[in-house]
Amino acid sequence: MFRYYLKLGMLSIRKNPVLSALMVAAIAIGIGACMTMVTIHYVMSGDPIPQKSKQLFYVQLDSWDPNEAADEPDEPPDQVTYLDATALLEAGKARRQVVSYRSGRIIQPPGAEARPFDVDVRSTSADFFAMFDVPFLYGSGWDHTADAQQEQVVVINRDTNDRLFGGENSVGNRITMNGDTYRVAGVIDEWLPTPKFYDVTTGAFNDPEAVFMPFSVSIAKEMPGHGNTNCWKPIPDGGWESFLNSECVWMQFWVELHGDNEQRDYLAFLDSYVNSQKELGRFARPLNNRISDVMRYLEAEEIVDDSVRIMLVLAILFLVVCLLNTIGLLLAKVMRRSGDISLRRALGAPRGAIFTQYIVEAGLIGFTGGLFGLLLTWFGLQGIRGLYADLQFVDKLAQLDWLMVLAAIALAILSALGASLYPTWRACGIHPASQLKTL
């Protein structure tokens, strides 16, 4: 019977080409607008490291001004001080812990003609690569002794390796940055966590840094942070050394913990650490330590732009208008065919049969609308890329994956079925013979 109804549906669509085209267009445009924004929102609010996002925790300690919270009403600062980062790293109470901050260097390629170029640098500690599941093309990260001995080693990304070594395995080779020589320990394969969760303070959708180096080395080289540095207390005189010992927050600290017990234990450790610091005259605010897993951290940092959320709301309402339009048109179509329906009913078709017939027809329209909607979504995403052409990361956001394709078609069919419920119900209510006399 289904195939017969499908055939009937096709016939009916062909019989009223204009009305049917209007319905397909309304659904397609609504789906296109809606799915464009849903896709962007979905990528922006996606989980960048699904296999571990429940085990990685961002650490915040309330070391801020006793007179004023870092962020109202009572939020701790969103980064940590050098003093606390090094103390927590030293304590090593979690399975893994990583300190990191963003900086920059200038690479001087060998040869007189080669032009030096600048790169973003992530200064971090040994656990970074294992903790964040960083894929390696060649070699590996450095170990804890390299951190402790301030070894001049680096991990470089694939692009930098292509540029300096023509893509060869460069492990063990040397590179020169700002006059110092570093040994290449590893080369990272393509790695684009979106959002760049491990540090969202300098653009949540930027690419990862090109070079990674031990943070003990970058501190010794007095490499300043290229992210946000926030201070509530003036830095005493004395240059770099006093800056390191100041209350300025400028580093990120992550820990890896498995299960509730480890989380509880780590929080207890943080509290006891802060209490011991209170005795030294720091941490004048009440205890307010926090560990947030990846998704909670991203949510708290509000990385999804308000514009995107506004557009999402408006796009959903837009789809509502398109559906109201479709319901109206379907109703018109059903009413026009009252004669057919009452004839079928008079010839013995039960209500269920009428219902199935019209639902199948609506589903057909929804499916067609969904396909066109998918096409419009693709155009919509291209349009968004064009609008934001100057922001490279938009390319990463405006991408359809198979899940979004399925979602678009499913949403289209559901919308069409939802829209057809009322008209179909009206169709089922048409009495046999009531319309026959006017035929």
Binding site: V321, N325, G328, I384, Y388
Partner: protein, 403 residues
């Protein structure tokens, strides 16, 4: 008028008309709120930065030699830059308005820790700062060359003078009516800064900052391997000058990188990229939505005309003129539209209240509601005109035939 009969006819086929009215209502809610957002973003984008945007460009210089003499290099660079034909003036500074990266501090009226401080954006500059940025000094004086010093890397003490914007002056001294020259404020808890001048306007580097109009020029040159040159060209010379400047700086010293050269106009475009994209998207949505609603009205009106062909014929046979029929359908649409826009006004306000709550938007201005009503009435009348005209063409003889 035939409002009575039209109303009773509407009631006999409620569903179709309710749908159209609902569609008009939701459309109106979207349009009103979208236009309110467009207005707000446009207003933000039109705020002047206070600097001579047409003629300014800037670039960064990064030295990487281990023992670089940065102060010597900066002084030499500035001397060369200021001597170039086509250059009006040049400085070394840390940032420019709208660049979205910079330095901020707090200014307090009293010394000591824990005082209430107002956020202020800091621009380090020398006595050429006002001329290079093209600022309008409205009170006091510019820095004297002897007031400008190099920073001491081992000291966090602050220079003793500063030039602030009018907005900053009003924030610090609301009762002084801009008469603040000679007053002292405190930065870094205890360092006094005497205000020696006031400029009309200079925005902070962050366009979304609450204190975006609060800035201070500080008479200091920074001994830092990463510094930024801001160059103001003579009118019309900017584009020709940019490659020359880049070349000159790159050639004069091989132990540095010159990069990120950008004009102020480009900076403004990038700074408001999100806002201008949102404005374009919303304009597109508003237009598309109006068209879709119009098409929906056309579709349903055509259907209702073709369903009532016999009744129309009968009315014509009983003496109704073509104009009567036309008026009937136009009036019918007007009634539906009125119901739609009435519901739409309520929906628009509710949606706006929710959006204000959720996204910190400003409220809609009152006149948007009547304006959107008028627009949708016109769209409705325009959309129904075609089908209504076709209805008026139905010959009276139809009444006697079976359709």
């Amino acid at each position: 008028m035939e409002i009575g009969p039209i109303w009773r006819a509407l009631l006999r086929n409620k569903a179709g008309y309710v749908l159209i009215a609902l569609q008009i209502a939701v459309t109106m809610a979207i349009i009103v709120n979208a236009i309110a957002i467009i207005q707000e973003r446009t207003r933000l984008m039109q705020r002047p930065s206070g600097v001579d945007e047409d003629n300014i460009f800037y670039l960064a210089s990064m030295s990487f030699a281990a023992e670089a003499d940065v102060p010597g290099m900066i002084d030499r660079d500035l001397e060369r830059l200021r001597a170039m034909p086509g250059v009006r003036d040049a400085i070394s500074t840390n940032s420019v308005p709208l660049r979205n990266g910079g330095w901020s501090m707090g200014l307090a009226l009293e010394p000591g820790a824990g005082q209430d401080a107002s956020g202020v954006a800091i621009y380090f500059t020398d006595e050429h700062g006002i001329d290079t940025f093209g600022l309008n000094l409205v009170a006091g004086r510019n820095f004297r060359p002897e007031e400008v010093a190099w920073n001491d890397p081992n000291s966090s003490r602050w220079p003793a003078t500063g030039i602030i914007t009018r907005a900053m002056a009003d924030t610090l001294f609301p009762d002084a009516a801009g008469d603040v020259v000679g007053k002292t404020v405190y930065v870094n808890d205890d360092d006094p800064v005497q205000i020696i001048g006031v400029v009309e306007r200079m925005q902070a580097p962050w366009n979304g900052w609450d204190n975006v109009e609060n800035s201070m020029l500080v008479p200091q040159k920074r001994d830092f391997s990463y510094n930024r040159y801001v160059i103001r060209a003579e009118p019309g010379q900017r584009d020709a000058l940019m490659p020359q400047v880049e070349q000159m700086l790159a050639d004069s010293n091989r132990e540095r990188i010159v990069k990120d050269m950008r004009t102020m106009s480009e900076t403004r475009k990038r700074s408001y990229l999100g806002d201008s994209a949102l404005v374009k998207l919303l304009t597109f949505i508003v237009t598309l939505l109006t068209v879709i609603t119009g098409l929906g009205i056309v579709g349903l009106a055509s259907f209702s005309v073709s369903r009532r062909t016999r009744q129309i014929g009968t009315r014509r046979a009983l003496g109704a003129s073509r104009f009567d029929i036309l008026r009937y359908f136009m009036l019918e649409n007007f009634i539906i539209s009125t119901l739609g826009v009435a519901a739409g006004s309520i929906l628009a306000v509710l949606l706006n209240m929710w959006m204000v709550e959720t996204f910190e938007l400003t409220r809609i201005t009152w006149y948007l509601i009547p304006a959107a009503m008028l627009l949708l009435w016109l769209v409705g009348q325009f959309a129904v005109a075609g089908p209504a005209r076709r209805a008026s063409m139905v010959p009276p003889a139809v009444a006697t035939r079976a359709v």
